[in-house]
């Protein structure tokens, strides 16, 4: 049984109790993904599985046999930071940085959802296309809390990359 983390094949834990979060951090020493609440309430542990954002603290690692997992460590390339990483720096999208890996993975998942037309709680027309307004981004990112209150910068960074398409 094995998972693929940031493109590399890695073994699944032998104890099925190990969460995907603990497996990433303790088993694979990929400590970029953070443990905030460990109970689904903060979003710090958000990672992408086959491109979809999920909470790794409520996921058992054994459930992800053969799946592609992307963490914050997998985003930068040889050319440099991922555009969202750069935009978070540019727009002061963090203070302590603890929520940031989750915020960035979540924003990438959100972009894919909006692109395929997934509506949100604040979308007026369930049948229409999605425009990522400030209000839409705030609602769609509500699963990622920031204790430092950097939300304004977070929304601005996301808007800059996903809406204005300005490569940072």
């Amino acid at each position: 049984m094995s998972l693929f983390v940031n493109g590399a094949q890695v073994p699944a834990p032998t104890d099925p109790r190990v969460s995907l979060l603990d497996h990433l951090r303790e088993g694979l020493h990929l400590t970029g993904t953070k443990k905030g609440c460990n109970q689904g309430a903060c979003g710090a542990c958000t990672v992408l599985v086959d491109g979809e954002r999920i909470l790794s603290c409520l996921a058992l690692a054994v459930q992800f046999d053969g799946r592609q997992i992307t963490t914050i460590e997998g985003l930068a390339s040889e050319e440099g930071l991922h555009p969202l990483q750069a935009a978070f720096i540019e727009h002061d999208g963090f203070q302590c940085g603890y929520c940031t890996p989750g915020q960035i993975c979540s924003a990438i998942g959100m972009a894919a959802e909006a692109q395929r037309g997934v509506p949100s709680h604040v979308t007026d027309d369930l049948g229409g296309t999605i425009t990522l307004t400030r209000e839409e981004i705030q609602e769609r990112m509500s699963g990622n809390l920031c204790r430092c209150g950097a939300h304004n910068g977070i929304v601005e960074a996301i808007q800059a990359v996903l809406v204005e398409g300005v490569p940072a």
């Binding site: 099925p16 109790r17 998942g109 509506p119 949100s120 709680h121």
Partner: protein
């Protein structure tokens, strides 16, 4: 977390075979079960992962939809047929939890997430008849702002937390289950139980029974539906109360109305008394408030939650007047 063995079911028959063993539990997205296992409130010794079972949404011959239990909450909310024909269901799902949790959560798991309250979670500090039958209930005399006002018992005043289930109650859905005694269907309103003196049992499912699908009947022609949730913060919070409604008018008279409330009882609450009071009427604020009053005639509020009947009544009035004007989605 207690030790357990993990197996991934290939199909429903495989799941049922493995699930027949005492101490086994089915695993969906894990967003409720893994959390409860970590707190050692749930202690299964076999986990049968049912997320690999079929996950399709199919049209039925009677113009409805058949939704497999392994369909993820996001997939259901975004499905074109659900958005167009059952907006109340799309809206209810999108009002729940967070995008990450909706991506993980399955339909089966959403239905069977525990009816619960904060005292249920507080294994070290609080008595709870649902967690430990016979131990007492600290919510009754405690902080009970979020608790039930209808259908509660001395033993338990917890509420069912799902938004999706409130919509399914209003839509007259049917739950398809399979088990040792064969397949059966359960009307949605009968799936969840009131606590009575057995609050440890949330539903009428038998040991080892597997939810395989949910069937939605076609809505009456011209019927409109909507969901509204009232909560302490604008997003990512459980409902204080919520309202799901399906309304069919002829001229300005109500021909058919189906209403369910969330946050008021141990189960999604189908408001049949309010429905009866509204049939044949023209929707006005006062007519709806009176209908809600009929539903809450037997409400038994606790110290902190006496605001709920009036809040539900006003929310229902807002939802139905919007639907009557053709405004809500």
């Amino acid at each position: 977390m207690n030790p357990f063995q993990y197996a991934r079911a290939d199909d429903a028959a495989d799941a049922l075979r493995r699930g027949a063993i005492s101490g086994a539990a089915y695993l969906g997205g894990g967003t409720n079960l893994v959390d409860l296992m970590r707190e050692t409130i749930a202690r299964p010794d076999q986990l049968i992962d049912v997320t690999g079972l079929p996950a399709t949404i199919a049209e039925t011959d009677d113009g409805g939809l058949l939704i497999d239990a392994a369909v993820r909450n996001t997939a259901l909310a975004e499905h074109p047929a659900v958005r167009m024909r059952y907006p109340v269901l799309s809206r209810a799902i999108l009002a729940g939890a967070s995008a990450q949790i909706r991506n993980m959560a399955t339909v089966g798991g959403n239905l069977l997430q525990r009816t619960r309250c904060t005292y249920f979670y507080d294994a070290e500090g609080a008595r709870c008849n649902k967690r430990t039958p016979g131990s007492g209930c600290d919510a009754r005399e405690g902080f009970n702002r979020i608790h039930a006002v209808l259908g509660a018992s001395d033993a338990c005043v917890a509420t069912h937390p799902s938004d999706m289930c409130v919509a399914l109650a209003a839509l007259d859905a049917t739950v398809h289950v399979d088990g040792a005694e064969g397949q059966r269907t359960i009307p949605f309103a009968d799936l969840h139980r009131l606590p009575g003196d057995q609050p440890d049992r949330d539903t009428v499912l038998r040991d080892g029974e597997l939810i395989t699908a949910i069937a939605l009947p076609a809505l009456p022609t011209g019927a409109r539906s909507a969901y509204r949730k009232v909560r302490d913060r604008a997003s990512y919070a459980f409902a204080l109360v919520s309202v799901a409604a399906v309304l069919q008018l002829e001229g300005d008279r109500v021909v058919d109305v189906r209403i369910a409330f969330g946050g008021v009882a141990h189960k999604p609450w189908r408001a049949t008394k309010a429905e009866a009071a509204l049939r044949g009427q023209t929707i006005t604020q006062q007519v709806v408030l009176d209908a809600a009053a009929a539903e809450f005639a037997e409400a038994r509020p606790l110290r902190d939650n006496a605001f709920k009947p009036a809040l539900v009544a006003r929310t229902l009035a807002a939802v139905l007047t919007d639907l009557a004007r053709g405004e809500a989605a």
